[in-house]
């Protein structure tokens, strides 16, 4: 197993994430160790409050562990400062949220542009990157619409475009279909799986058993612990 560590994309060792709520200690993550290779398609399932979001936020560097180490692309990210972590969030990680989190006063294209703006990418190159990205997600003709002029499915596709425009190695999705009707949800999953086929590492939290089972590796969480780690050979509709 040791030699495999060098190809690991993500290596979590003995991660705790505790919250002090009043005089009660909530162990949202309790001694979680996890090894994820490049290009894996992983679903995380489990009851509400079992720590799925907390784990995903930690992987996305939106939150810090109370204890343990986290290697991303062979870098110990827990030792990085705020600026360096921001840099990684910008370049190496894409995040898709259940609530979309689009900036309401910006158009679809401008929302997708945000990570490029933050990275200081020159204007002409931004255009070159945004257009195919919107095209690939089937929302090119919605480029100049504001989020409130878009359907839920379209909004989530804008969010996916934004999460992938920097071509990160890993895409984290926290219940990406949670706010969508079944049809739109299917479309979004298909898009995400298309990204897996192109080599991205996808880690997706979901409530939907059927969707979860499509992943080649299924994690189950329970009370802040990884409770089950199931591998299947191939992804696709079961």
């Amino acid at each position: 197993m040791r030699e495999l560590a060098t190809t690991a994309m993500i290596e979590l060792s003995h991660i705790d994430r505790h919250f002090q709520v009043g005089d009660q200690l909530v162990k949202a993550l309790d001694d979680v160790s996890l090894h994820i290779d490049r290009g894996e398609y992983i679903s995380i399932m489990g009851p509400s409050g079992s720590g799925k979001s907390t784990l995903l936020n930690l992987l996305g560097l939106l939150d810090q562990p109370t204890a343990g180490t986290y290697f991303l692309d062979e870098v110990d990210v827990t030792s990085l400062d705020d600026g360096q972590q921001a840099h990684l969030r910008n370049k190496a990680i894409g995040f898709v949220f259940q609530m979309f989190h689009l900036v309401p006063r910006l158009t679809a294209a401008e929302n997708v542009e945000l990570p490029l703006v933050l990275a200081g990418v020159p204007v002409e190159e931004r255009k070159r990157l945004i257009e195919p990205s919107l095209e690939a997600l089937g929302i090119a003709e919605r480029a100049h619409h504001k989020p409130d002029q878009l359907s839920g499915g379209q909004r989530q596709r804008v969010a996916i475009a934004r999460a992938t425009v920097m071509q990160p190695g890993v895409l984290l999705a926290d219940e990406p279909t949670g706010n969508l009707d079944h049809k739109s949800g299917e479309d979004v999953i298909a898009i995400l799986e298309g990204l897996v086929d192109q080599g991205i590492t996808l880690i997706m939290v979901t409530h939907d058993m059927d969707m979860g089972r499509r992943a080649t590796r299924q994690l189950r969480m329970m009370d802040g612990r990884l409770d089950q780690d199931l591998r299947t050979s191939n992804h696709g509709p079961s």
């Binding site: 921001a86 969030r89 006063r105």
Partner: protein
């Protein structure tokens, strides 16, 4: 990772236009602050310019002697209008010509008289003086001549009249060489004054000027209202002032019963007073700028808490704490600069309005005030947005995102 300044400006602009009511309110606060500074200093400077200009029109290198002693011994503008404790006489005026550093001396009497010609008459300001007055006051005669050079105590019945009086009494007829009645005496018109001779208290267009001895007869007095002394050069002013004081004192049995002021001193006193006024007024206006700054800080604090989720999102997308601070500070700065520019435009328009309403008042805001006020607005925007910016930058991405 460096944000492009154009992107910063665009993002700030979108953020500001996304909340129009709040943005307009802030712009208004800043604009009022800046506008009032500009208008008030323009007003102060205008008043100063007006007074300075009026005094300058009295003539240069001027030393003015008037009866009565000002208590402080310094320059007291009020003393110029006081009652007369001891008379100044024509002989006093003559005595002041006896210095090589004195170029000219002109006695002055002022009174109100009725002038008439045939059925037409009106009340006018009568000035009694000598030929020297023309040069000392830099007046110009439009037609005919000024008072002739002659013995100072000769009450020759000649008059130089202002152009308005000429028009009212003579209409289209010829006035030069004609006679008119001043009080109970007849005077021959020898000259007509133009309109350029305008100076404090006296509008030459509506005055008549006659020999000082004739004026004293009409006013039934032996005394003078003023003696105007012109020093030969600027360097001689101090000497001439002392000379005038000593000479009159010697003539008045050692009593220091006159006040001698130099025009310079009067001017600089008014200059000081009005300059201080301008500063005070600027200070008051500066307070409103500070208020605008504090308002901006509060608005940015609200903006930060309102946009917590958005800031969290930017962080999730890879914004560094520095970038977040930059965006917040840029937004506040844009707000205050826009407000300042609007205020500047309003202020300049206001000053222009004052100038067109009061053409005599050169109400221009000094350029240093304009620069200072723009600078202050910028600093205010920067300074008062630092706290909200630091709060925003310190937000944890996950907790910021969780808030809606």
């Amino acid at each position: 990772m460096a944000l492009h300044s154009l992107d910063i400006a665009r993002f700030s602009w979108r953020a500001l236009s996304g909340y129009p009511a709040r943005t307009l309110l802030m712009l208004l606060a800043m604009a009022i602050g800046v506008g009032s500074v500009v208008v008030l200093t323009a007003l102060g400077e205008g008043a100063r310019g007006y007074v300075t200009g009026e005094f300058a029109s009295l003539g240069t290198n001027l030393v003015i002697v008037f009866p009565g002693r000002s208590e402080t011994g310094g320059v007291n503008p009020g003393a110029m209008f006081n009652e007369t404790p001891r008379d100044l006489t024509i002989d006093d005026a003559l005595s002041l010509t006896r210095s090589a550093r004195v170029r000219r001396v002109a006695p002055l009497n002022v009174g109100s008289v009725t002038v008439s010609r045939g059925p037409r008459s009106r009340d006018v300001v009568m000035l009694g003086s000598t030929a020297e007055m023309l040069e000392i006051r830099r007046w110009e005669v439009r037609q005919g001549n000024f008072l002739p050079t002659m013995d100072i105590d000769r009450p020759m019945p000649v008059a130089v009249i202002g152009s308005k009086i000429r028009d009212e009494l003579f209409g289209p007829e010829r006035a030069l060489g004609e006679w008119l009645r001043v009080g109970d005496r007849r005077f021959r018109v020898i000259g007509i004054m133009g309109s350029e001779g305008r100076s404090i208290g006296v509008d030459v267009e509506e005055s008549i000027i006659i020999p000082v001895a004739a004026a004293q007869q009409l006013l039934n007095t032996q005394s003078l209202f003023r003696i105007l002394v012109e020093a030969r050069s600027h360097e001689d002013i101090a000497y001439v002032r002392q000379f005038a004081e000593n000479t009159i004192q010697a003539r008045h049995q050692g009593e220091k019963d006159v006040t001698v002021v130099t025009q310079d001193a009067v001017l600089s006193t008014f200059d000081d007073i009005l300059g201080a006024l301008t500063l005070a007024v600027t200070g008051i206006a500066a307070v409103s700028l500070a208020v605008a700054g504090i308002l901006i800080m509060n608005v940015m604090l609200v903006a930060v808490s309102e946009r917590t989720a958005e800031i969290g999102l930017l962080k999730a997308l890879g914004a560094t704490p520095g970038q977040i601070q930059l965006l917040i500070v840029a937004e506040a700065s844009l707000l205050s600069i826009l407000g300042a520019l609007i205020g500047l435009a309003l202020g300049l328009a206001g000053a222009m309005g004052i100038r067109s309403a009061l053409p005599d008042l050169p109400a221009f805001a000094p350029s240093w005030v304009i620069l200072l006020v723009l600078f202050t607005a910028l600093i205010t925007g920067l300074l008062f947005s630092l706290l909200p910016a630091r709060n925003a930058a310190a937000l944890e991405p996950v907790s910021a995102l969780a808030r809606r």
